[in-house]
Amino acid sequence: MSVYSTILRQIVNGLQAGSIYALVALGYSMVYGIITLLNFAHGDIIMIGAYIAWISMAKFATNPVFAILAAILGCTLLGVFIEKAAYKPLRGAPRISLLITAIGVSFLLENVAQMVFGASAQVIPSFFSIPALSLGSIDISGNAVVTVITSAVSMILLTFLVQKTKMGKAMRAVSEDTDAAQLMGININSTITFTFAIGSALAGIGSVLYCSAYPQATPTMGAMLGLKAFVAAVLGGIGSIPGAMIGGFAIGLAEALVSAVGLSVWKDGVVFAILIIVLLVKPTGFLGKPMQEKV
């Protein structure tokens, strides 16, 4: 195989992983934008989504379409439930309390999953078999194409939702200034819940795409995925939709390239090194707004 086709193959892999990171990063970014909470549990919502897909396909032998819908719906409901049960009582609490709660929720989900489903990996049957796309001398897997397209479409829809609809306007207002938004008659609680629902639905889509790329579910699969997606969100600029997309692709490509040069054991280290460099050089990321210090 020629060098070019290897590189091209890695780039495709990177784009596929990157678009999943981008979808997950969007969830982080939106939640962070609206209540400045780093939602550690976001990655674990993806893990639950994967288990839902596994149950509905491997145990109940349902139609893949139904399994996909169940996973997305399950993630959405779970996200809303977490928000209502764990984060809502802490509105107005110090941010460190919220953050610790989020870590607690993340650990709870992981350990409950481990108890219910066991620590070993469950193999998820493939959703659809998509023919590979052959481009000259190399084949691009159909999954990769579908993944990239799905995440691009999701992002376009999300941009439309945030920029053009009334709810999107409310979301932007709440993230700009919660108190002022409340004075303007915006229902803060329902807006935040809606944000969590959207973020978690994106996590559900991300979960399905992740499972089609790496078809297994483990209790800890969400932790590292979530952290890397968070790195992507920070890299692109937290709170920015195109930023999350750029960040996601950048992280995905960086990982693929590190693997391509044979250093795959250092992959996680490289991602965190990128995070550290970004935070030190440009803490707002590529497209983020600078934060002002309030006295």
Binding site: Y32, T36, L37, L38, A86, P89, L90, A93, P94, R95, I96, S97, L98, L99, I100, T101, I103, G104, V105, S106, F107, L108, E110, N111, V112, Q114, M115, A223, L227, F230, V231, V234, V265, W266, D268, G269, F272, A273, L275, I276, L279, L280, P283, E293, V295
Partner: protein, 344 residues
């Protein structure tokens, strides 16, 4: 105040505490020697001591400094590996090598604390949490893979660093616990400690009052890392075998749970929480698979219902209680006010 409120003079206070502590140390050792405490319980006690050091050390940066570092296990790992490599490589007698190894573990971890603290502490809140998490993970990945890069056997990566002399005993563990608690206590009562507390209360105001915020943040962070390194060295001598996977994110969270449960900013809370959370899982071995679920539920519950933790910021002082007793007269309300409560 018109009434004479008798106070215990300062040297006497230290003497009482030191005597009680020495009685505990030697009494405990005698009991173990005499066979009154089984081998298993001695092990649990040693683990408890190590956990207490870890918890009070994380309490410096979480409770007193008000930051949320998530890479505490990384510092522990650095200390553990530094002292383990020293003890296995240098052919000194264990009784000489152990204290040096202990100090070395602390110093190396402290240096890492400074190295990581200087860039990390420029950031706040969630960013600080995530960057320390990143550093913690990088330390783990490096320990796991560095042998293949350097080409010689140093950490043995996933194969574990084995045959470390098992030098940790009940006596030296709790001697370290005592020294660490004393050092942290005196540090927090000094002007440096008050500067650190003022940063927690309001960073901008502290800065405006002329406190060198970055310096004190790094100082607190490095102290926290130093003591974590000491705990790591004890851990290396306790287990006799080290594997990078035992210093993951999970371990950092476990320590954090202890700090949060005890009350951020309370040393006695940290000690109590570490005791409870080490002892209870040992007693409930049968339910060990639920341990992490209980931990995570505890974390959420404490944050929602009692964010200040079990002890809040209360710190226990034996002398104050003794003073209350010697000043207590029946039939009269104490006018001395709340003597037992101290901040920090």
């Amino acid at each position: 105040m018109s009434q004479q409120y008798k106070k215990i003079p300062m040297p006497l206070r230290y003497l009482i505490n030191a005597l009680l502590f020495a009685a505990f140390l030697f009494g405990g050792t005698a009991l173990i020697k005499g066979g009154a405490v089984s081998n298993y319980y001695t092990k649990v006690l040693m683990l408890l001591g190590i956990n207490i050091i870890l918890t009070v050390s994380l309490n410096i940066s979480t409770g007193y400094l008000g930051q949320l570092p998530l890479g505490h296990a990384g510092f522990m790992a650095v200390g553990a590996y530094a002292s383990a490599i020293f003890m296995t490589r240098v052919g000194l007698d264990a009784s000489v090598a152990f204290p040096i190894g202990l100090l070395l573990g602390g110093v190396v971890a402290g240096l890492f604390g400074i190295m990581i603290g200087i860039p990390a502490l420029r950031l706040k809140g969630d960013y600080l949490a995530i960057i320390t998490l990143g550093f913690g993970e990088i330390i783990r990945v490096v320990l796991l893979n560095i042998d293949s890069v350097l080409g010689f056997k140093l950490t043995y990566g996933a194969a574990s660093l084995k045959s470390i002399p098992k030098t940790t005993t009940f006596f030296n563990t709790f001697l370290c616990v005592g020294i660490v608690c004393f050092l942290i206590h005196t540090m927090m009562k000094s002007r440096h400690g008050r500067a650190i507390l003022s940063i927690r209360e309001n960073e901008i105001a502290a800065d405006a009052c002329g406190i060198h915020v970055t310096y004190y943040k790094v100082l607190g962070f490095a102290a926290s890392a130093f003591f974590a390194g000491v705990a790591g060295s004890l851990y290396a001598g306790y287990l006799g075998i080290l594997n990078p996977s035992s210093f993951g994110f999970m371990k950092s969270i476990e320590i954090l749970v202890m700090v949060v449960l005890g009350g951020m900013g309370s040393m006695v809370g940290s000690v109590l929480a570490a005791t409870v959370l080490t002892a209870v899982p040992e007693m409930l071995r049968a339910f060990s698979e639920y341990r992490m679920i209980v931990y995570s539920l505890l974390l959420i519950m404490v944050m929602i219902f009692k964010p200040s933790g079990l002890m809040g910021m209360y710190d226990f002082s034996l002398s104050h209680i003794l003073e209350k007793i010697i000043n207590w007269k029946p039939g009269r309300k104490k006018s001395a006010g709340k003597a037992g409560e101290e901040n920090g």
